[in-house]
């Protein structure tokens, strides 16, 4: 059952005008970023050639660069960014916790531990790391949620954060143990654990695309229900919200999005933490607007960061995971300082 959305407060007139316009602007920004991401790189290719490569492929080197490297990379960047932004918004709504993100709730650690095990035990590499990463992220999320929601009352923010921290610590310990015993694994993991879009091809993306699509659809449909949940469990239940169902749906969405994103690009910190906070400045607490904003802004941030990383250092690339952290952290700190934390 979908709820008629009880919005927490009646939005002001300006906000009602700003929200649709802002979303259009954000989509425009995403289009510009995607275009730049295809155009800009170590080898500059004029926009006309880019267009030709997409519509009239002639097999030249330039066209090959566009089609086999930059387009997949851009597509992956858009989807991973959207998934991380959405996942962060969902986690923060679900746990009513402004600190919730894939890192704090142990999901990145789950994926990393699974990758380490896959490299150590199976000698896996390349696109074979996709499935362990996905499995690890999903298992970690389920474990944290199961542990956090044990007992009579439901999962509280403090519990989930504690459960996530505890699980992340155990997994990190295992990773360290393997790394110390095996140089080879360490050499792999140190590159994998920097989230990056470099050298990702369409095969990897196609493997995780179904999860991303389902995750995004499930998630966007949850907006009204999450609005009801924001009023508190008791009031939401009075309004007819099926709280266990909503919680489970949100959790499934989070697992799909985080698992797929981490599988496709490695652990990228901070997009999931900062994007919902940034989106909330524009949208206020209404989840029906917050979720699409989070998706679009996440995609903008990731593609822009990836493009900047290609040109910022002469002669080498800066991984997108490093850029998002370096850009995201100051913005996040500014956010924390500039306003009272919104009720989630």
């Amino acid at each position: 059952m979908l709820l008629r959305a009880p919005t927490p407060t009646r939005p002001t007139l300006t906000r009602r005008v700003i929200r649709p316009i802002g979303l259009v602007i954000a989509l425009g920004a995403l289009a510009v970023c995607a275009l730049l991401s295809v155009t800009v790189g170590a080898k500059p290719i004029p926009a006309a050639d880019v267009w030709a490569a997409l519509t009239d492929y002639n097999g030249s080197y330039d066209h090959d660069v566009i089609r086999s490297l930059r387009v997949p990379r851009t597509v992956i960047g858009v989807f991973v960014g959207a998934a991380l932004g959405l996942a962060g918004a969902l986690m923060q709504a679900l746990t009513r916790n402004p600190l919730a993100e894939p890192g704090i709730l142990g999901i990145n650690s789950g994926a990393a531990a699974a990758v380490v095990v896959a490299v150590f035990v199976l000698g896996a590499s390349g696109s074979a790391l996709v499935w362990p990463a996905f499995l690890g992220a999903a298992l970690a999320a389920v474990a944290v949620y199961a542990l956090g929601s044990r007992g009579r009352s439901s999962a509280t923010p403090v519990r989930l954060a504690l459960a996530g921290t505890a699980l992340a610590a155990v997994l990190q310990g295992l990773i360290y143990g393997v790394i110390v015993l095996n140089d080879f694994v360490f050499d792999r993991i140190r590159f994998w654990q920097v989230g990056s879009l470099t050298g990702r091809d369409l095969d990897i993306f196609l493997q995780v695309a179904p999860f991303l699509v389902v995750g995004i659809i499930v998630t966007l449909a949850l907006g009204p229900s999450l609005n009801a949940m924001a009023l508190g469990d008791d009031l939401a239940a009075t309004l007819g919200a099926r709280i266990p169902l909503i919680r489970a749906g949100t959790a499934v969405g989070v697992i799909l999005l985080c698992g797929a994103a981490t599988a496709a690009a490695g652990p990228i910190w901070f997009v999931g933490l900062i994007i919902p906070h940034a989106a909330r400045v524009i949208t206020g607490p209404d989840q029906r607007w917050l979720l699409p904003y989070a998706a679009v802004l996440g995609a903008v941030l990731l593609t822009a960061a990836d493009t900047v990383g290609r040109v910022i250092l002469p002669g080498s690339e800066l991984e997108v995971g490093i850029i998002t952290a370096l850009v995201g952290a100051p913005l996040f700190i500014a956010l924390v300082r500039s306003r009272k934390m919104a009720q989630l």
Binding site: A161, A169, V170, G173, I179, V180, G328, A329, V336, R337
Partner: protein
């Protein structure tokens, strides 16, 4: 919101329970008096006993075993020369270092958690550990520095980071949630700097830096033991002196001010001392994870007190680390694991178990 960032005391239950079985102790004449909680006393004594027993076991076991009966003599410097060498020269300083580092981390963690009024507000989360690790990794990978410079780099990195975090979090005083959030932001930034350095270094250097980052007590001698114990002797009394005021601050800054506590100066003294203590621990052993986060929480659950117990946290930290180091030495023998691996696995598993049993009962 209020759930998340409630005072640390609310993690176990919202209202502070009346101290069960607490007795007031008064000196003759009644000039000095304080509450004695029998349970807290028993827990503290037990933890001290565990630490002492573990110390005795750690000096006796190893690839060169010293029978327990020979340990007391070897500790005094009598007995076989090889026994004395291993017990007095190698294993005792390492175990003492473990106890000192553990106690330092436990106290520092308790202070940070109390100041941020958040169970997760340990040095690990507010950026100190991250800053120290980054300072050390930069010293190793950029300067190719030796142990002393690496330690100094770690202390400098941690101190600067803690100061930056505190300053960035300051706005009409420092509020708990802001401190934690700013710390997370700065930590994420530093982690990305570390990742960058690690991917650009060659494998041997990167591995050395990684092991340092995990935290290890391998081949720590009397110099390191002395360093951390001197740090404890100087800084712990400072922190214990402001302990009562910290507990008032947990009630909220306004309430504390009403009770005559100067909030800002208490915060600054406690933060500086706890940072220095963490710095000493990290300089000696590297950024050992999880002890500072877990020890105060575990101590509080065992003593069943509502607020922070500094002594309990210190003893819990010491017991945790010396036990963990024993396991790290023997688990994969003859390969010695860095103790940071064990603290993460043991501490994390224990916290999971604790949360599991506590929540199953529907409490908390």
């Amino acid at each position: 919101m209020s759930d998340t960032l409630a005072p640390a005391s609310s993690a176990t239950g919202s209202a502070r329970p009346a101290p069960r079985g607490a007795r007031a102790w008064r000196s003759p004449g009644g000039r000095i008096s304080f509450l004695v909680r029998p349970r807290t006393l028993v827990v503290c004594l037990t933890l001290a006993l565990v630490s002492a027993l573990t110390l005795v076991v750690s000096v006796s076991v190893g690839d060169y075993g010293v029978p327990l009966s020979a340990v007391p003599a070897a500790l005094m410097g009598f007995g076989e020369r090889l026994d004395v060498f291993f017990v007095q020269g190698v294993r005792l300083p390492r175990a003492l270092t473990a106890i000192g580092v553990g106690a330092a981390l436990g106290i520092a963690g308790a202070v940070f958690q109390s100041l941020s009024r958040n169970a997760l507000g340990s040095p690990d989360i507010i950026g100190f550990t991250s800053g120290a690790a980054t300072g050390a990794v930069a010293a190793i990978l950029i300067l190719g520095a030796g142990r002393l410079v690496v330690s100094l780099g770690a202390i400098a990195g941690g101190m600067i980071t803690a100061a930056v975090v505190y300053l960035l979090a300051m706005k009409n005083g420092v509020q708990g949630y802001r401190l934690v959030l700013v710390g997370i932001g700065v930590s994420a930034m530093l982690a990305s700097v570390r990742d960058y350095l690690m991917t650009r270094a060659d494998l041997t250097d990167a591995l050395g830096a990684q092991i340092w980052m995990i935290g290890s007590l391998n081949s720590r001698g009397w110099a390191e033991a002395a360093a951390v114990w001197i740090g404890l002797a100087v800084l712990a009394p400072v922190i214990f002196a402001v302990g009562q005021r910290l507990r008032f601050l947990e009630l909220g800054e306004d309430t504390a001010r009403g009770l005559g506590v100067s909030a800002q100066s208490t915060q600054i003294i406690a933060l500086a001392a706890a940072s220095a203590l963490t710095g000493a621990a990290i300089a000696v052993a590297g950024p050992i994870g999880f002890v500072a986060l877990a020890a105060p929480q575990l101590a509080r659950r065992l003593t069943r007190t509502g607020g922070t117990t500094l002594a309990g946290a210190a003893l819990m930290g010491a017991a945790l680390l010396v036990l963990a180091d024993l396991v790290a030495m023997r688990l994969m023998a003859p390969t010695q694991l860095p103790v940071g691996v064990v603290t993460a696995v043991i501490g994390g598993s224990y916290l999971i178990w604790l949360l599991y049993t506590e929540w199953r009962g529907g409490r908390a």
